[in-house]
Symmetry: C2
């Protein structure tokens, strides 16, 4: 007797890196950023329905591997993500990721996907969503300090969602800024490569910091941040890694994703454990005020949270039919009789 082909129950849609690139290019990166932003916003609006836990890290000398699970009671999602600052010099990505969405009712996965690219998209979409509530309404110019893998995604998200038209690029590696300028050449943005962080922040309404060193660096000093600016701090995202001088934190109103995680990983790890912060979801839900004055300095201390990945997974799953860019993986054992796992294996012998 031949082994039956795997049934539909055994199959999980898989989005490879190649398929993810096809999906991004089919939808268009800016439209995809806007749509993911809307999914994240919808999930932040129902924040209290989610099961929330700080990510589960495995730290080593070289970096960290983390699992980030969450569930809304209907679906369960998790992301596997590593952070290895020394990887780039060795030709590997600092951050790679993959993720899974599953049905809570039966525990079966419904999507397995690369998430290196998807994380880049969701991180930028989250930044833009926060800035909708926190940046000055008239903001048109953004300084981008750190022009690594996240840079172009941030620029396009802020252009698409906020109407940013000018980006000041600065990186300690000039090649990184040149790479970003080249990739954004046709985006319809005014781009300026700057020789210093000071030059980049001059005239900027929004300052995005996104550097990768695993240390307490000072990318922004206090005198560089003028009244009315919104700071979108992306790179302070693990213990011992911050980007902002402490004095800035004391002048700013601070907004975070999930305080229990941000106090360990974010810029505010430098502050007292009870330093007041506002949860971003409460601003979106209208329970708390975002930007209230023109001269206020707002800071989104972003470390990335599992719900954002959940939203991105949910979004991606909804695009599978529309784009067709996925394959089915035979991931789940599905014997005709659920009790007969051994028999399924045994009968497969005859079909080899």
């Amino acid at each position: 007797m031949a082994a039956p082909n795997p049934s539909a129950l055994a199959m999980v849609p898989f989005v490879s890196v190649q398929d993810m690139m096809r999906i991004v290019n089919a939808i268009g990166p800016r439209q995809m950023l806007r749509e993911i932003c809307a999914y994240i916003e919808a999930d932040f609006l129902r924040w209290e329905t989610f099961d929330k836990t700080p990510r589960i890290p495995a730290h080593s000398e070289e970096g960290v591997i983390e699992l980030m699970p969450t569930t809304d009671g209907e679906h369960y999602g998790f992301k596997y993500v590593n952070g290895h600052p020394a990887n780039m010099a060795r030709g590997y990505q600092t951050v790679t990721a993959f993720g899974v969405l599953a049905k809570v009712s039966n525990g079966y996965p419904v999507l397995f996907t690369e998430m290196t690219i998807l994380t880049a998209l969701r991180t930028a979409a989250t930044s833009a969503m926060a800035a909708k509530y926190l940046a000055p309404k008239s903001a048109r110019t953004m300084a981008m300090i750190g022009n690594g893998a996240q840079c172009e995604f941030q620029a396009l998200a802020f252009q698409e969602v906020l109407g940013i038209d000018t980006v000041h690029l600065f990186d300690i590696a000039p090649k990184a800024s040149e790479k970003a300028a080249r990739n954004l050449a046709d985006a319809g943005l005014k781009l300026r490569i700057c020789a210093s962080a000071e030059e980049a922040v001059a005239g900027a309404d929004i300052i995005t910091t996104c550097t990768a060193d695993k240390q307490n660096a000072t990318v922004l000093t206090d005198n560089m941040v003028g009244a009315g600016v919104h700071i979108n701090a992306i790179g302070g995202d693990c213990p011992g890694k911050t980007e902002l001088h402490r004095d800035i934190l004391h002048r700013a109103d601070i907004f975070v994703e999930y305080p229990a995680q941000t106090r360990i990983e974010g810029e505010i790890q430098a502050l007292a454990a009870d330093h007041p912060v506002t949860e971003l979801w409460q601003v979106i839900a209208g329970q708390k005020t975002g930007r209230s004055t023109e001269r206020q300095i707002t800071l989104f201390d972003s470390v990335g949270f599992a719900i954002e990945d959940f939203s991105a997974l949910r979004y991606l799953r909804d695009q599978l039919e529309r784009t067709g860019h996925f394959v089915q993986l035979d991931l789940l054992a599905d014997p005709d009789d659920p009790r007969d796992l051994f028999g399924m294996v045994n009968r497969a012998k005859e079909s080899v």
Copy 2:
């Protein structure tokens, strides 16, 4: 310019259900059980080198989804596993699983695999390993109470590792026992289908309980367990799910994998939090005594622990070259310049 094909860095070996069945049949289930048993034993011997944490559960009314991570500092492994008792009646597996092995030094996955079948193998291999240290040396007869998906794997593991030659089968569903007897017909075991649990345990040196109801059931009562018996309790593996009458626990010397997890999930959830238990790894390492007298009742209160999955992943990875049964998945984004993730996506446009 055409998008380059994914480089070797982007690729992760994937073992599908079909490939896992090919691997099991190429190596042979009994040899594979013995070899996995040896890998688990080697890892239990170096127990203290592992980062250990109770599994991370997401409970719902219908069941549970869990992540089980661990690392030995060189490799990192985790398993995704669900447990949904109502699944079987709906034609789904009660337990399905998949897992990942990754390198700690750079965070890159080196193996992605189905683990429904692999979990069945490692569970049985762990049971047999424990019984090597805890069962009477002369044991030849095992009672198997609960003849579901785990049953045949247990029978073969005990035959291969301990030299069991007789198995008494009992299940409240006679069809389950018939299925097991059919699958084991050519195994060289003396099989007897029993009409009751009492009949099954009569004359058995080892009693394996492996039922699936999510409730505090009493599969074994006190009067059914005679002196000198080894109990291999598999099915009590989540809060609110036990199989043994409490009186048995008080007569037995109890051995566990990881107390912090077993006290929540195992048979001993019914006992005081400080009830004495022995960690199995200490017996294997010669630090504690296993079976010390002929009349002693030993109980392996098995709930499954992440290190066993880690061992199984490590074993499977070592078989990939030998068997060739895997495919490469394009899971990791690998731009030529690690900073140029956006450029990689953008350039792929031209190759669609």
